[in-house]
C-alpha cells in the first residue's frame, strides 16, 4: 500500500533527483563556474590597485558575479522539467505542490553553494584577501544571500519557463528583487572585510535575514499558483 511522503521528505526526494541530473550532465555547473571565474578574473585585470583598495572592490565583484551566475543556474531548474513535460509527472505525484518548490530551491541552494565554494577562495587569492578571513567573513553572508536569491529565483524560474522569452524574463523578474540582497550583502561584507565590529554590520544583516524569512515563506505559498494554466 503506497503511503505518499510528507512535505519535507518529498522535497528531499525532488532535490536529490535534481542533483542527480546535474551530477550526470554537469553542463550547468561547469558553465556557471567558468562564467564566475572569468568574471572575477576580468574585474581583476581591469582593477587599478593604486586607485581602489582590494577590500573596497572585492565585495562588489563578488556580489555582481554571484547575482548573474545565480541567474544562469536558476534557468536550468525548471528547464529540465519542461523538456519532455517531466513537470507533469511531478504534478501528478500525490504530494503537496509546495514540496516541488522546496525541493527545487534546495537543489538550487546546493548548486549556488558549490559555485560559491570555488568562487570565494578564487576571489581571496586574486584580490589579496586573507583566505581565512574571506571565508569566515563572507561565507555566512554568502549563505544568507544565496537563500534569498534561490527563494525568489526558483519561483520566477517556474513562472518564466513556459514563456517564449524565458531567458529574458527570468532576469527581468528577478533582478529588482535581488537589489536588497546585493545591497545588504555588499554592505555587510565590506564592513567585515575591513575588520569593523559585527554590530556595525547588524542592521544590514537583519535586512538580509528578514528578506530570507519573508521570501522563503511567501514564495513557497505563491508557488502552486504559478503552475495553473
Amino acid at each position: 500500500m503506497a503511503n505518499p511522503p510528507g512535505l519535507f521528505t518529498a522535497a528531499w526526494i525532488i532535490a536529490r533527483k535534481d542533483l542527480a541530473v546535474e551530477l550526470r550532465t554537469r553542463s550547468a555547473f561547469l558553465s556557471v563556474l567558468v562564467f564566475t571565474l572569468l568574471a572575477i578574473a576580468t574585474f581583476f585585470f581591469a582593477w587599478d590597485a593604486t586607485a581602489v583598495a582590494s577590500i573596497d572592490l572585492a565585495p562588489g565583484v563578488l556580489w555582481v558575479t554571484f547575482t548573474f551566475a545565480g541567474l544562469m543556474g536558476l534557468q536550468r531548474s525548471f528547464g529540465m522539467e519542461a523538456q519532455d513535460r517531466a513537470i507533469d509527472a511531478l504534478l501528478l505525484a500525490p504530494v503537496e505542490r509546495e514540496a516541488i518548490y522546496l525541493g527545487k530551491a534546495l537543489a538550487n541552494l546546493v548548486f549556488v553553494g558549490a559555485v560559491l565554494a570555488i568562487a570565494l577562495p578564487a576571489l581571496a587569492i586574486l584580490y589579496n584577501l586573507p583566505l581565512l578571513v574571506a571565508i569566515t567573513a563572507l561565507g555566512p553572508v554568502a549563505a544568507l544571500a544565496a537563500i534569498g536569491l534561490v527563494a525568489v529565483g526558483t519561483l520566477f524560474s517556474s513562472m518564466a519557463v513556459n514563456t517564449r522569452l524565458a531567458e529574458l524574463l527570468l532576469p527581468m523578474l528577478s533582478l529588482p528583487f535581488f537589489v536588497p540582497i546585493v545591497m545588504a550583502s555588499s554592505q555587510v561584507s565590506t564592513r567585515l572585510l575591513a575588520g569593523r565590529p559585527l554590530e556595525e554590520a547588524m542592521p544590514w544583516l537583519k535586512i538580509l535575514i528578514a528578506f530570507d524569512l519573508v521570501f522563503v515563506v511567501a514564495c513557497t505559498l505563491a508557488f502552486p499558483y504559478t503552475l495553473e494554466e
Binding site: M1, A2, N3, P4, P5, A10, I13, I14, K17, A20, V21, R24, T25, M80, Q83, D84, R85, A86, D88, A89, L90, L91, L92, A93, P94, V95, E96, R97, E228, E229
Partner: protein, 241 residues
C-alpha cells in the same frame, strides 16, 4: 454502488483564454471500465485527460476520482497513472532511476524493487541501467508506461500510448493493458486507431468540439469495428482541421 465508481466527470468545462476546449462533459466509469476515446485533433481529448488527472483546473465542474475531487486532495492523485505522447522522463537519468523516482514520490514501500518489476513487465529489464536519452522513442515510451504503473494506480489515463511503439511493443502493451483491465484497473484510452481502441475497451466515445458526441457500451458480441469506424468518420468528417 457508489464505492464502485472510479472516475466521475461532472459538468466538466475548460477554456483557454475564453476559447472553450472542453464543454460540459459528464460521464461515470466504474472499476474495471475501459473507455476508448476517439476524436479529431483539437477535439479536447488531451485536455479532458489532463482535467481528470488534476493537471488542469476546470473552468467549471469537477473531476472526481473514487468520489474525491482531485484538485482538492493531493493524495487522490496517487490513484492515477498517466501516459502521454510526451515521455515525462528525465533524459540524463537511467530508466530505473526515472521509474524509481516516481515510485518514491508515490510512497511505494520498496521503490527499487517496484521499479524493477514495472520495467520487467514491459520487457525492459535489460535496458534498466541505460540513460533514457540513449533509448529509442519506442523504448522511452515503454519506460514512460512503467513509470505510470509503478505505484499500481487504480485509474490509468493513456494519451496515445502506442505512439512510437513497434509491432512487438504494441502487442506487449495491449496484453499488459488487458491484464490490468481484468484486474479492475479503470482506463481511459485516447487513440486514433479505432481497431486498437475498441479491442481493449468496454466503452467507446467520440469527442467533438469539447463535447462527448456519442458514448457506446460494448455489446456482448463485442464492438463492430467497421460499423463504429464508419460512424466515427461520418461524425468527425465535418470537424477535421
Amino acid at each position: 454502488m457508489t464505492t464502485d465508481v472510479a472516475v466521475r466527470a461532472v459538468g466538466l468545462e475548460k477554456s483557454f483564454s475564453r476559447r472553450p476546449a472542453v464543454r460540459g462533459v459528464d460521464f461515470t466509469l466504474r472499476r474495471g471500465d475501459c473507455l476508448a476515446l476517439f476524436g479529431p485533433n483539437g477535439a479536447g481529448k488531451t485536455t479532458l485527460l489532463r482535467l481528470i488527472a488534476g493537471l488542469l483546473k476546470p473552468t467549471a465542474g469537477a473531476a472526481l476520482l473514487r468520489e474525491v475531487d482531485v484538485r482538492r486532495d493531493h493524495r487522490a492523485r496517487g490513484a492515477v497513472g498517466f501516459v502521454s505522447h510526451q515521455s515525462m522522463l528525465y533524459p540524463p537519468l537511467t530508466a530505473l532511476e526515472n521509474v524509481e523516482f516516481a515510485a518514491r514520490l508515490a510512497g511505494v514501500p520498496s521503490p527499487g524493487a517496484a521499479a524493477r518489476t514495472a520495467l520487467a513487465s514491459l520487457q525492459l529489464s535489460a535496458l534498466s541501467n541505460i540513460e533514457v536519452r540513449k533509448l529509442s522513442r519506442g523504448q522511452q515510451q515503454r519506460v514512460s508506461v512503467a513509470r505510470a504503473l509503478v505505484h499500481d494506480p487504480a485509474v490509468l489515463l493513456l494519451d496515445e500510448p502506442y505512439s512510437g511503439l513497434d509491432e512487438g511493443g504494441s502487442q506487449a502493451l495491449t496484453t499488459l493493458l488487458e491484464s490490468l483491465r481484468d484486474k479492475g484497473v479503470t482506463m481511459i484510452l485516447v487513440t486514433h486507431n479505432v481497431a486498437e481502441g475498441l479491442a481493449l475497451s468496454t466503452l467507446a466515445a467520440v469527442m467533438l468540439d469539447g463535447t462527448l458526441a456519442r458514448m457506446d457500451t460494448r455489446p456482448a458480441t463485442g464492438f463492430d469495428v467497421a460499423a463504429f469506424a464508419s460512424s466515427y468518420r461520418s461524425l468527425a468528417g465535418g470537424h477535421h482541421g
